[in-house]
């Protein structure tokens, strides 16, 4: 079952979810290491991978949003309050927003700085904005703040999923593993 149904996520939606989860995890690791390491060829390499993975995440999130818009959204687990459903919707909206905003602000830093960059060391990145030190520093601050925010929202997302599974004993987490597809 590739497409979503009223009760379950399709394989495509599940693949998008876990692929992005993995890439975002890798991306945090690359980004933090790249910032910490002192200037060296390794640092340049880490930043190239961080930027390449970032552009990939941005494209995947856009594809994922397109897929989501063309698909049914499985209903929330039974027994949730209106407030819980609203919070879930707001949280997921915020996740999507940050998954777009964090790579975009990353691109903004890269584009306004002077260090050339090729996507996966192959494809020259388009240079859209003039190099501007003040702009790139501002972009870096925003990128950092949004990254922290994304980390917090992911933490809440994981905690909520675990709450569904272990405390509320519903299928919310299981259906993201496609373990129980009921109709």
């Amino acid at each position: 079952m590739l497409r979503n149904s009223r009760y379950a996520w399709g394989r495509i939606a599940i693949a998008f979810h876990w692929l992005l989860a993995a890439l975002i995890f890798v991306q945090f690791a690359l980004g933090w290491t790249a910032v910490e390491v002192q200037v060296s060829p390794q640092k340049l390499g880490l930043f190239i991978w961080h930027k390449s993975v970032g552009v990939s995440i941005l494209l995947l999130v856009l594809l994922r949003l397109g897929w989501r818009l063309g698909n049914e959204i499985p209903a929330a687990a039974a027994g949730l309050t209106v407030l819980e459903k609203r919070l879930a919707r707001a949280g997921h909206g915020l996740l999507y927003l940050l998954m777009l905003a964090v790579p975009l602000t990353g691109w903004w830093i890269s584009d306004t700085s002077r260090i050339p960059f090729r996507l996966f060391r192959l494809l020259p990145a388009p240079d859209l904005l003039p190099a501007d030190r003040a702009m790139s520093e501002l972009a870096a601050r925003i990128h950092g703040t949004l990254t922290t925010l994304l980390l917090i929202v992911i933490g809440i997302h994981v905690a909520a999923a675990l709450r569904h599974h272990f405390l509320l004993h519903n299928e919310t987490l299981r259906r993201m593993f496609s373990l129980r597809v009921e109709s």
Partner: protein, 185 residues
């Protein structure tokens, strides 16, 4: 006094009568091009001094000396500049100035010359050949040229930077210098 006189006398035969002492004007173009991640990037030498004692009819008797203050080199970004000044790159603390001393100038075509001499950079000295063009209206002159160096020949970008994985080994130096008579300033 005797020594001064002696030096003076020694130099006279080397300087033909219609040689002019030229000096670079600070607002000229003196750049270096390097590829970073396969993308050509241009840096500028902000401070340099070019002295040229030149007689177009007797180029072989000319004297050319170029000194570049590497502390004023500029890649257009403070972070990249601080790397550039680093011991692995220019090491400006120990070697603030690069000097080219011309030993021989030969004319290859009217207005075209090749200056052969030694380049002293980051404590290393190597012979380089610099093709250049020269045009002058008598009071102002223009000296243009470009030549390539292998940065690792001078240990610029040493150690972990000495591969061309991220930053190319070939560096092109290009100059388009406005010159005036040294005496007139």
């Amino acid at each position: 006094m005797r020594q001064v006189l002696f030096t003076f006398v020694l130099f006279i035969p080397l300087l033909p009568a219609n040689a002019t002492e030229w000096q670079s004007v600070p607002d000229s173009d003196f750049t270096f091009e390097v590829t970073i991640e396969g993308v050509s990037t241009t840096g500028r030498f902000g401070k340099y001094d070019v002295r040229f004692n030149f007689d177009p009819d007797h180029p072989d008797a000319s004297e050319l000396r170029v000194s570049v203050d590497l502390r004023a080199a500029d890649l257009g970004d403070p972070d990249m500049n601080s790397v550039l000044f680093d011991p692995a790159w220019f090491d400006v603390e120990r070697f603030p100035v690069a000097v080219f001393r011309c030993e021989e100038i030969t004319s290859t075509a009217p207005g075209n010359f090749v200056a052969r001499g030694t380049l002293e950079l980051k404590g290393g000295t190597r012979t380089v050949e610099v093709p250049l063009t020269w045009s002058s209206d008598g009071t102002e002159a223009r000296m243009r040229g470009r030549f390539a160096l292998r940065r690792t020949d001078f240990d610029v970008g040493s150690g972990e930077w000495s591969s061309d994985e991220y930053i190319g080994l070939d560096v092109t130096l290009a100059f388009d210098l406005n010159m005036t008579e040294a005496d007139s300033r």
